[in-house]
C-alpha cells in the first residue's frame, strides 16, 4: 500500500511538473511570436497571423525552444535569416538610436518648456 502511495505521488508530481513546463513553454512561444513580424501579411505579428509562413514560424520557434535555444538566441537566429526587420522591437544600434533617443529628448524638451513657463508665471 505504501509503495503504491509513493508511486502515485511520483506520477502526480511528474505530471504537474510536465504540465507546468508545457504551459511555460507555450507562454514563451506566444511572447516570442508577438515580437516576430509575419513577412506575408506585413503589419501583423506571427502570433496574430494565420498564414502558412506564420504557422511554420511558430513550429520553428517551438522546435528551437525544445532544442534548448534561449529567447535571445531565437531572435538572433531569425535576424540572421531574415534581417533586423523581422523583429517588432528594434534593437539599439547606430541605425536605430534616434528612434530610441528621440522620444526621451522630446519628453525632456517638453518638460523643460513647461518648467520654464511655470517659473515665469511665479
Amino acid at each position: 500500500m505504501k509503495l503504491l502511495r509513493i508511486f502515485l505521488f511520483i506520477i502526480i508530481v511528474f505530471n504537474t511538473n510536465q504540465a507546468f513546463s508545457d504551459e511555460n513553454n507555450d507562454k514563451l512561444i506566444n511572447k516570442i511570436s508577438k515580437n516576430i513580424r509575419c513577412l506575408i501579411c506585413q503589419g501583423q505579428s506571427i502570433y496574430d497571423s494565420q498564414s502558412d509562413f506564420a504557422i511554420s514560424m511558430k513550429l520553428v520557434i517551438a522546435k528551437k525552444l525544445n532544442q534548448g535555444f534561449s529567447e535571445n538566441e531565437i531572435y538572433e537566429f531569425l535576424k540572421n535569416k531574415y534581417g533586423q526587420w523581422i523583429m517588432y522591437d528594434p534593437e539599439f544600434n547606430k541605425k536605430t538610436f534616434i528612434l530610441w533617443i528621440l522620444p526621451i529628448l522630446l519628453f525632456l524638451l517638453g518638460g523643460a518648456i513647461v518648467y520654464r513657463k511655470l517659473n515665469v508665471q511665479k
Partner: protein, 173 residues
C-alpha cells in the same frame, strides 16, 4: 526676437517632417528580406520526397559545380509558370537542381511532376514548412543558387523569368 527664432525653428521642423513623409509616400510598403542575409546554406535533415528516407543536405551537395535549390509546391500558380525555365536549366550539365516541396500534398505534388516533368535530381519534402524557414525563405517559389562550397551566390524570390535565367547563366559561366 525669441519668438521669431521659435517660429522659424518650428517651421523648419515641420518642413523637415513634411519632406521626409512626402518622400516616403513613393516607397514600397512591402518588405522583402535581404537576398543575401546569410552567406552559406544551413545544414539540416530532410525527408526524401519519394523514399521518405531522412537525408542530410550535405549528402546531396557533393558532385556538382553549382546547385539550384528551388522551393516549389503544386498549389502555387507561379511555380507552374516558372517550371519550363527549370526544365531548361536542368539540361545544363554543370548544374544540379534540387527541389524542396513546400507544405504540399504528396499525391498532388506527384501529379505536378508527372504532368510538367521533373527537372530535379533530388526532391526533399517540407510538409510543415520549417525547412524553408531554416533556409531563410518566406514562400514559394523561391530559388537559391549555391556553389560547391555551399556558399549562397544569389536568391530569387518569386518565379524565375528570362531575366533571372540570364543572370543564372552569367553566374555559372
Amino acid at each position: 526676437m525669441k519668438n521669431k527664432i521659435f517660429l522659424i525653428s518650428l517651421l523648419l521642423f515641420f518642413s523637415f517632417c513634411f519632406v521626409v513623409l512626402f518622400k516616403g509616400l513613393n516607397n514600397s510598403n512591402v518588405y522583402v528580406p535581404k537576398k543575401t542575409t546569410e552567406k552559406t546554406l544551413a545544414n539540416f535533415v530532410a525527408k526524401d520526397f519519394f523514399t521518405e528516407k531522412e537525408i542530410f543536405f550535405d549528402q546531396v551537395f557533393i558532385d556538382s559545380e553549382f546547385y539550384i535549390l528551388n522551393i516549389w509546391s503544386s498549389w502555387c500558380l507561379p511555380c507552374i509558370k516558372e517550371h519550363p525555365k527549370l526544365m531548361q536549366l536542368s539540361k545544363n550539365k554543370s548544374l544540379k537542381l534540387i527541389g524542396l516541396n513546400y507544405r504540399d500534398n504528396k499525391k498532388n505534388a506527384k501529379k505536378f511532376i508527372n504532368k510538367f516533368g521533373n527537372p530535379y535530381s533530388n526532391i526533399f519534402s517540407d510538409r510543415d514548412g520549417t525547412i524553408a524557414i531554416e533556409l531563410g525563405a518566406y514562400g514559394v517559389p523561391e530559388t537559391i543558387i549555391i556553389d560547391r562550397n555551399k556558399k549562397i551566390l544569389k536568391k530569387f524570390i518569386g518565379p524565375l523569368d528570362d531575366k533571372s535565367i540570364k543572370e543564372i547563366n552569367l553566374i555559372i559561366k
